[in-house]
Amino acid sequence: MPRVIIPFPLRKYADNQREVVIDGDNLKETIERLLQQYPEFKTLNDDAVFVSVFINHYLVRAAFEKWGELAVDRDDEISLVIPIAGG
């Protein structure tokens, strides 16, 4: 099962854990299960926030609709990064 690294601002909603292990065979399934397990992570679904996803340090450039095609296995590390932006 892949490990998901939780962004700092969301850790308080995951018992202050830095990472969690989520069952999933592909990226889409893993992220959907993460959101089911931690519904407070609603930020990730907020279209006002542009979340970057990395699999083992590689930035995922595919659109969300294609995430089901990105296989992940138990040794993979998925990192979520909420960007900093300003005007």
């Binding site: 601002p9 308080k12 830095r18 609603k42 907020d46 006002a48 930035l59 900093i84 932006a85 005007g87």
Partner: protein, 202 residues
């Protein structure tokens, strides 16, 4: 290298409940040096060539006080790269107030890989990311000091669960910094500079 934070320390972390932010003088100077360097057009190798300074603020929490221990300047700006450009253009058009600078030249976004590296560094050092800083340089008629978040700042910080540190560099000789939870004016927390005795800097 810093020790890892204890579970007790981690459990104390409730950023939105912070009542003050303690910033050592040396850390304030690091922010200022970053801002002044960018304004002077003195860029580091690999750094985006734009007169905007922004970065990450990290530290530890002592009860209701957050103590700044690290300032991590961000080098790169991906605002003009897709898919970020489309997102930023849309946000800018919707929320940015008109100014002398065209919207296409305004706004910035951190490179996600660089930000990830910053977060990993903070994790290794047992620090908590409190927030982000960025500078304002152009005075506005209704906001001559520019030491408060803009409507755009507020939109971009929405749900961030972080403090936005706004650095006013309108007058480089009189810089100011204020901190607002999620860039909300009503949720300002005072910053105290620590240099022997505490003195408020904003």
């Amino acid at each position: 290298m810093r020790r890892n934070a204890t579970a007790q320390e981690i459990n104390m972390i409730l950023l939105e409940q912070a009542q003050e932010i303690i910033c050592p003088e040396s850390k304030w100077q690091e922010v200022l040096e970053h801002c002044k360097r960018k304004l002077a057009g003195d860029y580091l190798p690999g750094e985006s060539r734009m007169p905007r300074a922004y970065g990450v603020v990290a530290g530890i929490q002592h009860g209701p006080a957050l103590e700044v221990e690290r300032i991590l300047p961000i080098k790169k700006n991906v605002r003009d790269q897709e898919p970020y450009k489309t997102y930023m253009d849309k946000i800018m058009k919707q929320y940015a107030l008109p100014s002398k600078t065209p919207l296409s030249k305004r706004g910035w976004m951190t490179d996600p890989a660089e930000l990830k590296a910053c977060y990993e560094e903070c994790d290794r050092e047992g620090l908590v990311v409190f927030g982000t800083y960025h500078m304002h340089v152009v005075p506005w008629e209704h906001d001559p000091l520019r030491d408060r978040p803009t409507r755009l700042d507020m939109v971009l910080a929405r749900n961030s669960r972080l403090f936005s540190f706004i650095v006013s560099m309108v007058d480089v000789a009189l810089p100011r910094m204020r901190a607002f939870y999620e860039a909300l004016e009503a949720r300002e927390v005072p910053i105290l500079i620590q240099e022997g005795e505490l003195a408020q800097i904003a």
